[in-house]
Subunit: 436 residues, 2 copies
């Protein structure tokens, strides 16, 4: 029996061990899904804090129900470790590490490279490897494969199989989660796809096959580039509409009545989170290698990058209407999460607007029911204030930066001297409300 058949049989008999590398908002839900399906899962992470939490059954990801995590940990179908030598026990290794941008907005491939080095050094023969992190096309074949072969001394297609299958996790989405979101996979060989399919279908309802890892890599980037470009477009149109005294929110609601060929996007203070503001620049990066300038991504990125500055100007303009300067004014930001009803402030434009405002002498405070403390890019630390009539009255300006459904907009409106509404939360027109 060759190693492919051995592995397929293990999977069929539920005897395989799946290693998940990186236990964040992608890796942990996936680990839980496998474990729920009765698969033995080992979670790998360099953070001792995360590993300890998981082994105690303590959940730290919003989209996972606490009881479910506790159950799979109690049954020992899921364990976590910082000991990467345990990769040797795994039949499959799924990589869910971050792919951020560095300070110069270039791809930081160090997490993937490090995972591949660890895999190459530790894995046993006959292992299936899949990357889920978003990255530029050619990463799997041209970056990962050489590292793994070099570190392991093994040969792809005989000793191990490599595939790319992008995560599609949408934090806070109540309809679609890891299991019921169709998953794209492209393997380097037919054998690899066959193994990957047998494995993934335990945790994912629907798999969609593509012909190669690089196609799958492009799929994920297309999905997120589509969002970056459309949000940037509507942001640019929102800025123009402001100048033309046109309510962009009213425009979008009306355009949505078109029953074909339109999808609504909404303006905002900028694009946040760990995907949309970053992924397209992975593609822009690799495109340079092909002497290709991605002008749409470039332009969209430019608009997005400027949005927090425009929002600062909106705040200054609003204060100016009441004969106040930013310098010395108390400015209360409501919401620092990058999107509503989640506790994630990564790349959140709110933080950048707070930095600019503080830099200009504003007394910055914030309230977010999901996030008790934040540290901005420039290193300022803020603690969430309680949202009382007093807090609101003390502010010269209240800036609505995140549309958490918990916010009592009427209460805010009742007590605020001045509101800058960047999320279309206040319905009625009023002299004290300035809208994006």
């Amino acid at each position: 029996m060759n190693s492919k058949q051995t592995l397929l049989e293990k999977i069929q008999n539920n005897n395989e061990i799946v290693g998940i590398i990186g236990l964040g908002y992608v890796g942990l839900p996936l680990a839980v899904n496998f474990a729920e399906a009765g698969v033995h899962v080992i979670g790998f992470d360099k953070s001792k804090g995360k590993v300890d939490k998981i082994n105690k059954g303590e959940n730290y990801i919003g989209d996972i129900r606490d009881a479910v995590l506790r159950e799979v940990v109690d049954k020992v179908t899921l364990t976590a470790t910082t000991d990467f030598s345990k990769m040797a026990e795994c039949d499959a290794l799924i990589i869910c590490v971050p792919t951020p941008l560095d300070k110069f907005r270039k791809p930081d491939m160090s997490y993937i490279e490090s995972a591949c080095t660890d895999i190459g050094k530790n894995m046993s023969k006959g292992t299936f490897i899949s990357l889920e992190s978003t990255t530029y096309p050619t990463t799997t074949e041209d970056l990962m494969l050489p590292i793994i072969e070099r570190e392991s001394g093994m040969k792809h297609g005989e000793d191990f199989w490599l595939a790319y299958s992008p995560e599609r996790v949408d934090p806070g989405n109540i309809n679609f989660h890891t299991r019921n979101t169709p998953k794209v996979m492209g393997a380097m060989t037919e054998d690899g796809y066959e193994i990957g399919e047998a494995l993934y279908k335990k945790a994912i309802d629907n798999l969609h096959k593509v012909s190669s890892p690089r196609v799958a890599e492009m799929v994920k980037i297309l999905e997120n580039t589509y969002r970056l470009v459309n949000i940037s477009l509507i942001n640019e149109l929102a800025l123009l509409s402001g100048k033309m005294h046109i309510n962009i929110w009213e425009v979008i609601e009306a355009a949505k009545t078109k029953p074909f060929g339109f999808q609504a996007f909404y303006p905002g203070p900028g694009i946040g989170g760990h995907c949309i503001p970053l992924d397209p620049f992975y593609l822009e990066h690799i495109a340079k290698q092909y002497d290709f300038d991605l002008s749409m991504i470039h332009t969209a990125g430019h608009i997005n990058m400027r949005m927090p500055h425009y929002m600062y100007i909106k705040i200054a303009t609003a204060l100016n209407s009441q004969k106040k300067a930013v310098n010395g004014s108390n400015i209360l930001f409501l919401g620092v999460a990058y999107k509503p009803n989640i506790d994630d402030e990564r790349e959140s434009p709110a933080l950048e607007i707070m930095d600019i405002t503080a830099h200009k002498g504003g007394e910055v405070v914030y309230h977010d029911p999901y996030i008790p403390q934040v540290r901005t890019n420039e290193g300022r630390t803020f603690n969430s204030l309680e949202l009382t009539a007093e807090t609101i009255k003390n502010a010269d300006c209240v800036v609505l930066t995140t549309n958490h459904k918990d916010f009592d907009v009427e209460f805010v409106k009742e007590h605020a001297k001045l509101i800058v509404d960047l999320r279309n939360m206040v319905d009625k027109k009023s002299e004290k409300v300035f809208k994006l």
Copy 2:
């Protein structure tokens, strides 16, 4: 009884006369819809040819059934005329004239201006006026209103009412036509909206109210800008994918499996038709007046403008692989319509590619089952050839420019020496097939 009540009563009793100005792909279907609802309609057009055809019950618009036109003409609920003095008989005037770009890609407002002058000179007191043509925000209030008031000596809100309600006609769409496509309307006054609503709801199932004409003007431009930007984005990604040996069509099919936050657009040889390539530049034009640069539209327009040139290079590259030059080669284009299954070649990128190819010495021929003859931008005239095995064999290269469903791709593939497929019509890989 004031003039508003008089008009509303007429509408209620089906005694109103509706004048439709411009009897093209927007005006004629609208006229037929009103006439079918039992409203007496007078169609105005400067083309004696069109007017004569209609009065003989001869249809020239693909989306109208011949029998329906004949029926409403026979019942004399629809008549057409070139005599604009008959506007005096009308209680409502709906403007459906073209809004093209001039040679320098600036809005050509002459059709709207001319319609407004005719209306001002001829209309009676108590007329409701609506513009349906796509145009930049502020047109209705800042361009039309002054002309109509000046020419008529009447006063808006007392003697007449002005509204903007953009057409959403999608030629060839089998699910959505004039009646069942929701329609946005913004009037200058509440009275105007009330009258417009009473009138339009005879021909249109659902109206969506917005607060002003300029909001409605922006709605239409947003809808079409969304399409321009997304088609341009996917065209740019298609060009990069070609360089990276990634099949963009496979990428799009896979991305479509994402059940939220994605809408598929497809690459092609460029953007054609009378809306998508033009409308966004109306907005770009007015934006300048507000010292505003619409970078997304600008970038999208640039990509779109270059696409026919890239497609020419694809043809030259394909011929080169068979050691042939464009100069002296016989090149057969299949399809000149700007989209499938319609007989409209306005702004079609096929014509531009044919011009470039002919300019470089290619012997250009074409076949389109819907369009027997075309005249290119550079003034070349071509007649559609019959599509025989012989015609295909004679061609050094067959270029698939429009994906008409009538095309027998297998037949083409059987006889062609070389195919350049710009519409993903050929399934299988082959050395003689070059794909966008």
